[in-house]
């Protein structure tokens, strides 16, 4: 079972946010994205980073992914 930074079990909605966040990061890590796709993926990853950070689900830096 996934937990947040406080060690509490995550909710269904939080699991979905985390999954989307991880997929956005994985997309940003690819080297075959068109500039328009990379820019969009970056906006998505950054937006989801704020959500998972606010909710205490994940806290990390995205610098190495260009964000």
């Amino acid at each position: 079972m996934a937990t947040d930074l406080l060690g509490r079990p995550t909710t269904e909605v939080e699991d979905e946010l985390l999954e989307l966040y991880r997929r956005a990061k994985a997309l940003l890590a690819r080297d075959d994205l068109a500039p328009c796709a990379r820019a969009g993926a970056r906006v998505a990853a950054v937006g989801l980073w704020n959500a998972v950070n606010d909710l205490g689900l994940e806290y990390e830096q995205l610098l190495d992914l260009g964000a």
């Binding site: 930074l5 950054v46 606010d54 205490g56 830096q61 995205l62 610098l63 260009g66 964000a67």
Partner: protein, 447 residues
């Protein structure tokens, strides 16, 4: 309290122990990041004998060295233009901003990545939402949009929460007043000083702002947003509620905001910051209710990690329970009280510009004022230069000056303030941070 009260119900209502656990988890990761990537922290951690794995509780935060503005500036000199704090160069960033330069010192230069920049808007969302701004609002941003970071984060925060954003941009005050009315703004963002300036201009134009749709003013940039007399004057002139916020370029955004309950202080956004209050002399922590210097650790800007930064802001922290809003975030009573070095010593008496402003704002019909300190031989003089409304008669001015001098003396152990009338338009006007205290003594603070 309904969930609609909070931007982030989960963390805004955490208990103190849970909040501390969240801060510790983030602090460990931030320190690991700084130790791995920042040349400045690699050096300072080594000198202090600190390693991130030593962080077992929040008390261990004090193992980290304090960071001063002087050290930051020296670092910029050592490796221009950004110094040794950043973990990456300008190629990793999408924004370059500087401090406002109002102190006359060399500005601090900061970078932000895309993630950092979006986080700054997020912090403003906590404050905007907390003061009652909602997607249905039309918000007017009275800001010049330059290299000073100022209200940039608020601009994007408004968009993020879904409000209709009207960027005021660089234009004369008259144009801004007319736009606020023409666009039907329900929210206006500005410095406290400029909120007063806008109200003066509206009066000159024959516009009754109190009758306009404006319901909320978001104030930032100066301590005056929490000076009761100044806030009351702004609220009366606008017929709207005024909410204080405070931020700084060094973190890029706000770290405190006043909620809609207006508890006489500002909540610290404690899931994104650790705010310590220390004795300015010893650096030792002070307790609830005691004034001290703000020291901030920010979990936001990743490209410039900020750990235990001495802000020189004077604050008094009080428990979250002081406010009825239900947040678990502690407050700064009275907001930012001023700067640690604000206090002026005049003939043996302490003079705080904030206290002087509080007295001045109790008087109607004052357009602008300035506190002027000079020295003649060994004798310090303190003058309050006042620009009354142009229509003020000599008789009315004489009466006002007498009352002002009496109120100022009574509040300062009998110290005599010379109250002088300035010509209309003579004193400087401010759009951003006001600087109304001018100290022309060679050796200030009694030296």
């Amino acid at each position: 309290m309904g969930a609609g009260e909070y931007w982030n119900p989960k963390t805004e209502t955490l208990g103190r122990d849970e909040l501390a656990a969240l801060q510790l988890a983030k602090l460990r990761r931030l320190c690991e990041w700084a130790a791995a990537r920042s040349p400045f922290y690699q050096r300072s951690f080594k000198e202090a004998g600190f390693a991130p794995e030593q962080l077992r509780s929040l008390d261990d935060l004090r193992r980290l060295p304090l960071l001063t503005r002087e050290e930051w500036m020296a670092s910029q000199g050592e490796q221009p233009p950004f110094g040794l704090l950043p973990v990456a160069g300008r190629e990793a960033a999408i924004r370059w901003h500087t401090t406002s330069g109002t102190t006359g010192r060399e500005p601090i230069r900061v970078l932000d990545t895309a993630k950092d920049w979006a986080w700054q808007a997020e912090m403003w969302c906590y404050g905007l939402w907390g003061f009652g701004v909602r997607p249905a609002d039309t918000a007017y941003v009275a800001f010049g949009y330059g290299s000073f970071i100022g209200f940039w984060g608020l601009h994007y925060g408004l968009e993020k929460l879904g409000a209709l954003n009207v960027p005021g941009g660089a234009q004369p005050t008259e144009g801004r007043v007319k736009q606020i009315v023409d666009f039907g703004a329900t929210v206006v963002a500005s410095t406290p000083t400029y909120a007063l300036r806008l109200a003066q201009e509206a009066e000159r134009l024959g516009i009754d702002l109190a009758a306009s749709p404006v319901e909320r003013l978001i104030l930032s940039g100066e301590p005056a947003g929490s000076i009761p007399q100044t806030k009351a004057l702004i609220e009366r002139l606008w017929g709207a509620k005024a909410g204080d916020t405070a931020g700084m370029t060094e973190i890029g955004t706000i770290m405190v905001f006043e909620c809609r309950h207006q508890p006489g202080g500002t909540h610290i956004i404690e899931d994104h910051y650790i705010e310590e209050v220390v004795d300015p002399g010893s650096g030792e922590p002070v307790g609830y209710g005691e004034a001290g210097e703000r020291v901030v650790t920010s979990f936001g800007r990743g490209i410039i990690p900020l750990l235990r930064y001495r802000t020189a802001d004077l604050v008094t922290k009080v428990p979250a329970s002081r406010c009825a809003c239900g947040r678990g975030f502690d407050l700064y009573e009275g907001g930012i009280l001023g700067r640690v070095d604000d206090m002026k010593l005049v003939r043996g008496t302490n003079v705080y510009p904030r206290a002087v402003e509080g007295i001045v704002r109790e008087f109607d019909g004052i357009e602008e004022f300035q506190l002027l300190l000079t020295r003649e031989g060994h004798f310090d003089r303190i003058a309050l230069r006042v620009e009354p409304a142009p229509a003020t008669s000599e008789e009315a001015w004489t009466e006002m000056a007498g009352k002002l001098a009496k109120a100022l003396a009574e509040a300062h152990e009998g110290l005599r303030f010379e109250v002088e009338r300035a010509e209309a338009g003579e004193l400087p006007r401010f759009e951003l941070k006001a600087r109304r205290t001018v100290d022309r003594r060679d050796t200030p603070i009694g030296g």
